[in-house]
Symmetry: C2
Subunit: 156 residues, 2 copies
């Protein structure tokens, strides 16, 4: 009985954890929203742009693996980004199955406009860089564990 805590405690803790992520994500969204409105981007669209700024010319699948999203979510989103004039979409001549996403001139130019956002977010968190680094590590480790568990689950 030393290796297991009180189960009612587990319930509460779990609820707070799942809810914490849920609410934390929403709160982050709401901080980003006014900042992104100036760029005409939504939060998920911004994440796509961040990925492309880091590494231009990626396939839908590559973006999906990094963002943990699939084509059913990405395709419509990328079409919107294309309609906004920030990316181009085109089949890869070497493998016509793939669609390659590239930044347009306008999309590249946005990176400098967006540079003002991260410092604002850091400030909004009200945490020190050290605290944030620790939190990022913990959350990523949590995400990784959860992903592994879901993976094993679906395999069985």
């Amino acid at each position: 009985m030393a290796d297991q805590t009180d189960s009612s405690d587990d319930i509460v803790l779990n609820d707070f954890l799942c809810f914490g992520l849920y609410a934390g994500n929403h709160a982050m969204n709401r901080v980003y929203q006014p900042l992104l409105k100036a760029l005409g981007l939504t939060y998920p669209q911004y994440l796509v742009m961040v990925m492309l700024w880091a590494h231009d010319d990626q396939s839908v699948g590559e973006l999906g693996r990094k963002l943990y999203l699939e084509s059913n979510t990405l395709t419509p989103m990328l079409k919107r980004l294309e309609a906004l004039g920030y990316v181009s979409r085109g089949r890869d001549p070497q493998d016509e199955r793939q669609v390659r996403i590239r930044l347009t001139k306008q999309g590249k130019a946005m990176q400098t406009e967006a540079a003002c956002i991260p410092p604002e977010i850091i400030e909004a968190t009200g945490m020190s860089i050290e605290e944030l680094k620790g939190l990022v590590t913990k959350i990523d480790s949590l995400r990784s564990n959860l992903s592994d568990w879901a993976q094993e689950r679906s395999a069985s």
Copy 2:
């Protein structure tokens, strides 16, 4: 110049933080999904049920304040829970503006079925109770800071 770290570091850190919450939330969703499918609930619906199990008979507004959601999200969700037979919706006779949400017999009964979920989630996190407690505290503190910042922003 001692009070500000390298700004390029900030950019990376910020991107990882926002993305961490985003991806962590998704991962949590994906762990819950197969468990909740047995109950016929979605993740946000489950959160509503958790709130009602803790305290039955709440108004839409009360639920919204706890879940950080508003009627535009809650009303359709609560109607679905009503259609599923888990809650009832009715105007408060004392204040006809309010709609009170109550668990049905079936909704109350589900609590015992759902009791098996939290321990599974705890296991899926692959973390110790102490680690989780620390993480929950940190994330909630982050959420609180972000909310305050968004609040001040919109006020100005």
